[in-house]
């Protein structure tokens, strides 16, 4: 039994006008919603927000953030899914409420693991950035006051004194422009991103931030808050998981997005150690192939490499005993003797299999994690070759792997556009001689599994014959959204809703 939207509004009017609950079209989501909502609404809100975040992700991969195309597409999607999209609209209580509630539902679903949190945070940040920048100057000021983020502007005298430094520190700020703009003195902790990237002047423990970069500060503040909140939510999750109505739904919501985390191996023990050399050529993504080569060549890998490669091997099915044997055999051919290996390295291998220390069973790294965190430095071979290698060296490597010159050009083009995962996908297509792999790659272990499926003939792939060699920006996940997102009626049965969701995610 459900209320229609009009009846519901009437009920709330009776309970008092709650419009001042959302004074702005965007918010920091500090207070969780306290009203009761129906399960059906709960679910449809969650699914809509998930669709929205997925769109945010796809747009972020395909277009430069903040460009007109990006903004137009995102605005269109917000409107279609009935989220607040016009900063000035005063009468969008329903949309703001939906925004508020759906955000909190997804928090529950996406607080459960590091990968999920990272993904959720990234998409919510992008969404927030877009919305914040859509605000007019006046509304921005109001919003800043509302969230207690007003900073002290520096005086004209100080600004003139520092003019040269400010201009040299702030990209895009010529001397005359420095004179025009307001600069704010902000503590390092609040300006952490600008500080990190050296995009502002830093003196005596303060960052001198131009007005136009205040959004970075706001975003940084938002991220800190959200990240803390997610950690807190994760801690209180057990009480929600005992609710048998919500638990399956929440699990479904999270799993349906990021896909499996490859921590549970169906094929444990099905790979023998002497297969690895051959597999590394046939079915390993470039990052793992590179690590394997480096290990065989130098009989050693540094910590970052051992983690990335070791967990990948665990994911493709090496047992703990095999892993110990594998690493030991290689390391003792180098500078490490058996004794040192058993004392030092064996511990960390058992640790990564959850047999030591806090006994966490570590999951293999996803592409996102490899690309975003812990970049390789001197003597390291881990990381994403598409992200972390010089294009010239990448080219040489691909040549030595017998990739065709036109294929290499396509890969490098994607790398140049910072589409590292698409570049890897292209590499998959080239090395497996298929035109379209029909899935979107986001995990090295997924690469391996798909490659194995393909090589053993378990999966049929359409081979296009009219392939003229021209390359088009891949955007099929985008299209699948548009074609499958029929408006969801709030009376829809749970099952169909979930099925739809399933279909929606398996398509891309």
């Amino acid at each position: 039994m459900e209320f229609s939207s009009r009846e519901r509004q009437k009920l709330w009017r009776l309970a008092g006008d709650r419009r001042d609950q959302y004074p702005h079209s965007l918010q920091f989501y500090l207070e969780p919603p306290t009203e009761s909502i129906s399960l059906v609404e709960f679910e449809s809100f969650a699914v809509d927000r998930l669709k929205l975040l997925k769109v945010v992700e796809n747009l972020g991969v395909s277009y430069v953030r903040g460009t007109d195309v990006y903004k137009t597409k995102l605005a269109g999607e917000l409107r279609k899914l009935k989220f607040p999209y016009r900063a000035l609209a005063e009468d969008d209580y329903e949309a703001r409420r939906k925004d508020h509630i759906s955000h909190f539902i997804l928090r529950l679903a996406y607080c459960q693991s590091e990968d999920l949190r990272r993904w959720f945070l990234q998409q919510e940040m992008d969404l927030f950035r877009y919305r914040f920048n859509e605000l007019t100057g006046g509304l921005m000021q109001k919003f800043l006051e509302h969230v207690n983020l007003s900073f002290e502007a520096i005086g004209e005298d100080l600004k003139n004194e520092l003019a040269n430094e400010l201009s040299a520190s702030t990209p895009g700020f010529s001397l005359p422009k420095v004179k025009e703009q307001m600069f704010y003195k902000v503590g390092l902790a609040d300006a952490v991103d600008l500080f990190r990237a050296r995009r502002v002047y830093i003196k005596d423990g303060f960052a001198y931030v131009p007005f136009k970069e205040i959004d970075v500060i706001v975003l940084n503040n938002y991220r800190t808050k959200l990240s803390k909140a997610l950690a807190l939510t994760a801690r209180s999750l057990p009480s929600i998981q005992s609710d048998e109505r919500l638990q399956p739904l929440l699990n479904h919501l999270s799993h349906s997005y990021v896909g499996p985390d490859y921590s549970v191996q169906k094929n444990t023990g099905k790979i023998s150690l002497d297969q690895i050399d051959a597999l590394s050529v046939k079915s390993f993504p470039l990052c793992m192939r590179q690590l394997h080569r480096a290990l065989r060549d130098s009989h050693h890998l540094r910590h970052g490499g051992r983690m990335q490669y070791g967990l990948f091997l665990k994911g493709i099915g090496l047992t703990l005993e095999q892993a110990l044997e594998f690493w030991k055999k290689e390391f003792i051919r180098g500078k490490v003797d058996a004794d040192k290996f058993d004392k030092g390295y064996a511990y960390s291998i058992r640790h990564s299999y959850g047999k030591e220390g806090k006994r966490t069973d570590y999951t293999p790294y996803s592409c996102m994690k490899i690309i975003m965190s812990n970049p390789p430095s001197q003597g390291d071979y881990h990381g994403c070759p598409f992200r972390h290698s010089d294009p010239e060296l990448l080219k040489q490597k691909l040549q030595s792997y017998k990739i065709s010159p036109s294929g290499i050009t396509q890969v490098l083009e994607l790398v140049k556009g910072m589409h590292y995962q698409l570049a890897c996908q292209k590499y998959f297509e080239l090395t497996h001689d298929v035109d379209d792999i029909g899935f979107s790659l986001n995990h090295p272990n997924q690469y391996f599994t798909e490659s194995q499926k393909l090589l053993s003939g378990g999966r049929e792939l359409k081979k296009e014959f009219n392939n003229s060699g021209s390359f088009q920006q891949k955007n099929n996940s985008q299209e699948s959204i548009n074609s499958s997102s029929t408006p969801t009626s709030s009376n829809a049965k749970t099952d169909t809703e979930l099925e739809e969701l399933e279909a929606y995610f398996t398509e891309d």
Binding site: L188, I202, P376
Partner: protein, 366 residues
């Protein structure tokens, strides 16, 4: 000199010491983590008793580290920690020719001098930090301990940001060009170049002779854009002259020389920085829980002492640890370094007292 009134105002937070993690390395690489002590005297007694090979210092935790097993999992968290930097000579292996891995000599040690000058300047002038202790790590590098009250409370994210702010050399074995500058050049970079400038000729051109032979100069020329490269058949006969030629060509491109679209070229600075700029290990600085070898702890692999920035002098003869008469260390060659350390601690005590007195005066609380 300390100007604050000497008084009964305590210089440290109560219980701070008891919550601090120490870690010992014993024979055969046996590690004892999460040691903690109720007083400095207890620490001293324990040191005399087990005589560890190496002492590491960790964070200040929410609970006593030696009781970490008794509190609920997840409740035991590091709260505070000095901001530490670890600069390790092995990370320079691609740019030094005299030694590799853990070996060091007086030639490449200049790299550490440059590193300290660059980082220390930035810590003070940019980050507004006051209390820094620089120590030789005992083997192949240096450590820096930043002890300001506010800094000890920094989050891992802020620590990581500081390291990134202070890092210019990016990329691993697969990156040829590890420093890329673009216009405008941030004051931090300019000032770092000024520091490198002072040492570059002596260290890189004469000491390492980086343009001395074709194999060597190919490594440098790989970092210079094609249109600026001088012809290889030039008549210059040594590194210094070759560098002058290269530099002149790059500088000519700077103010409005090259096509505007390409922007000014900073290849000379990029080379200087790639060869000399400090390479920090972010993981050591980022995590609050990361352990770092204590100053004055002997390095188990070399027998070298971790003391203030000297290298080359023979390791001092260790004074017996449990001497009945504490000032005995003054009779060893360690004395001047202990003095540096004592002055550092005094400076911190004084600053803390001053701050406390200021606060209580503000409250009118006498």
């Amino acid at each position: 000199p300390c100007t604050a009134r000497p008084s009964r105002v305590p210089a440290v937070v109560k219980n701070y010491f008891q919550l601090r993690e120490f870690s010992f390395t014993l024979r055969d690489d046996v590690y004892l983590r999460f040691q903690s002590f109720s007083s400095p005297q207890e620490l001293e007694r324990e040191l005399q008793k087990i005589n560890p090979y190496k002492i590491d210092i960790g964070a200040v935790y929410s609970h006593r580290p030696n009781q970490h097993n008794t509190v609920h999992l997840g409740a035991f968290q590091p709260q505070e920690k000095e901001l530490v930097f670890d600069i390790d000579m092995t990370d320079y292996d691609d740019v030094r020719t005299c030694c590799s891995s853990a070996d060091i000599c007086s030639k490449c040690w200049t790299l550490m001098t440059i590193a300290i000058r660059i980082i220390d300047r930035a810590l003070v002038e940019d980050l507004g930090v006051r209390h820094r202790l620089w120590v030789y790590s005992g083997r192949r590098g240096v450590h820096c301990w930043v002890c300001d009250d506010a800094v000890r409370k920094w989050s891992p994210a802020l620590r990581a940001a500081a390291v990134e702010y202070l890092s210019l050399v990016k990329g691993g074995a697969d990156t040829v060009k590890k420093v890329t500058l673009s216009h405008p050049v941030h004051p931090f970079i300019r000032r770092s170049v000024d520091v490198v400038e002072k040492y570059f000729e002596e260290y890189a051109l004469l000491g390492q002779d980086i343009l001395g032979s074709p194999e060597k100069w190919d490594k440098v020329l790989a970092l210079i854009p094609e249109d600026i490269l001088p012809s290889r058949s030039c008549s210059k006969k040594d590194s210094v002259q070759r560098w002058e030629l290269l530099r002149a060509r790059v500088e000519r491109s700077r103010p409005g020389g090259r096509a505007a679209a390409q922007g000014p070229c900073y290849a000379d600075w990029e080379v200087m920085l790639q060869f000399c700029f400090p390479r920090l290990d972010i993981n050591v600085s980022k995590g609050l829980g990361h352990l770092l070898k204590s100053p004055f702890s002997v390095h188990p692999k070399t027998g070298g002492w971790g003391v203030w920035g000297v290298w080359g002098s023979p390791a001092p003869t260790p004074a017996p640890v449990h001497s009945p008469n504490p000032p005995d260390y003054k009779k060893t060659s360690l004395a001047p370094y202990v003095k540096v350390f004592e002055q550092f601690v005094e400076g911190m005590e004084c600053a803390r007292r001053g701050e406390k007195i200021r606060q209580s005066d503000l409250q009118g609380d006498f």
